[in-house]
Amino acid sequence: MLISNLELIPGRRIVEHLGLVQGSSVRAKHVGRDIMAGLKNIFGGELKGYTELLQESREEAMQRLREQAEAVGANAVLNVRFSTSSVAQGAAEIYVYGTAVVLE
């Protein structure tokens, strides 16, 4: 499965468009990380725990995107976009969407 944020793949023709596919994942931070983050709010700097958490959650969202694309019979997802929003205090949603296509 080719996942790309380009709109077309040079040298490969798009045979069929299959519409939008998406994947999302909402993750909450656990208490230990929240305490560390509270300390970091005083000292400043990178919150490594959160960076990892969001990376994991992005992986999961992409996995769902991939599953959905496979289900509709695509062999590539083009023009992939990411979006992050904090839906509630202490939880963030990662959303991935793209166009499922069949490449020759």
């Binding site: 380009l6 040079p10 040298g11 990178e46 959160y50």
Partner: protein, 154 residues
């Protein structure tokens, strides 16, 4: 009186550690930027058709938090208006760090350039009074890899 003491202590701690961390971070950013200069990351939407490249999605992200002192400065700034330099440097650091991580990932894949780079900024947690607690910056793009360097087509 005790509360004021705690506040001042937090302010000094924030100032000391925050400034130190920022200076160290900028040094490391500049050093890595110099090293990765040979790998261009551009926002063009359409890649060159010749020669044929393999490609892979590369992602870099950073969550970074502002320190106590800077948050105080920003709150003061809210009274008078104007540029909030405290947050400007925060966002600048996060953005450059994310783009460096993206480039590093592209480098390990053996890419020669990164196309269609997009940035995405989100505020992850809010502090008291709706001030920015920490922000996440995500940078992503398509790495173009020369065919002989690539063995997997993700």
């Amino acid at each position: 009186m005790i509360e004021l003491g705690i506040f001042l202590a937090l302010l000094t701690l924030g100032y000391g550690f925050g400034q130190y961390a920022e200076r160290r971070h900028y040094r490391s950013i500049i050093e890595r930027e110099k090293r990765l200069n040979a790998l261009p990351a551009i926002a063009a939407r359409f890649p060159p058709t010749e020669p044929q490249h393999h490609q892979a999605l590369v992602i870099g992200s950073t969550v970074i938090s502002v320190d106590y002192f800077k948050r105080f400065l920003a709150a003061l700034r809210n009274l008078f208006g104007g540029r909030v330099t405290a947050y400007e440097s925060l966002l600048d650091r996060a953005r450059r760090e994310s783009s460096l991580r993206m480039k590093q990932q592209a480098e390990t894949l053996g890419a020669e350039m990164v196309f269609n780079v997009k940035y995405e900024t989100a505020s992850i947690s809010k502090g008291r009074g709706n001030t920015i607690g920490s922000i996440e910056v995500l940078a992503y793009g398509t790495a173009l890899i020369r065919p002989q360097a690539a063995d997997t087509d993700r």
